[in-house]
Symmetry: C2
Subunit: 73 residues, 2 copies
DNA sequence: GTGTGACTACCAGTCCGTG
DNA sequence: ACACGGACTGGTAGTCACA
């Protein structure tokens, strides 16, 4: 697959930024998304590789379009 | 997690559209991405739930920004 | 050139906990 | 409120033969 490494790290950092802008804690955000709190933590730290469905859910939880989650790069 | 519906189908359709606009066959596209042809097929048909890393590779193969892969919706 | 079912190894995602 | 760990289950990555 040979990847494009820090995509997870950059994605996670961006998610964190958007979450903080929404004034949500990781826990509140996780609840809103219906995901596990530790999983959100992992995503933001760049150690998780979320699927399309999860990315979609994250966008929903942040109340933004998916494309906005990729407004870095 | 409760599924946010046909996000996969819509994503796949959009990938297909972008691929055709690039004049690539599934095979050529798969080669360019370093992925299997049948895997691309699955994504375009909406039966696969690709991860962030795969999505990143797809964007690279199409030579577009990731956010452009979500320009639907 | 593409759709599809089946397959194994590995990871996505959950749940328990700690500091 | 968050980082980080271990253990677990189901789903995804990646590939094949065949239509």
């Amino acid at each position: 697959m040979i990847n494009t490494f820090s995509i997870q790290a950059r994605f996670g950092a961006h998610i964190k930024k958007l979450r903080l802008q929404s004034g949500l804690s990781q826990e509140a955000f996780a609840d809103k998304c219906g995901l596990d709190r530790t999983y959100i933590s992992g995503i933001e730290r760049g150690v998780r590789n979320p699927t399309l469905q999860v990315i979609s859910v994250l966008a929903g939880g942040l109340e933004v379009k998916i494309s906005m989650l990729f407004d870095f790069k």
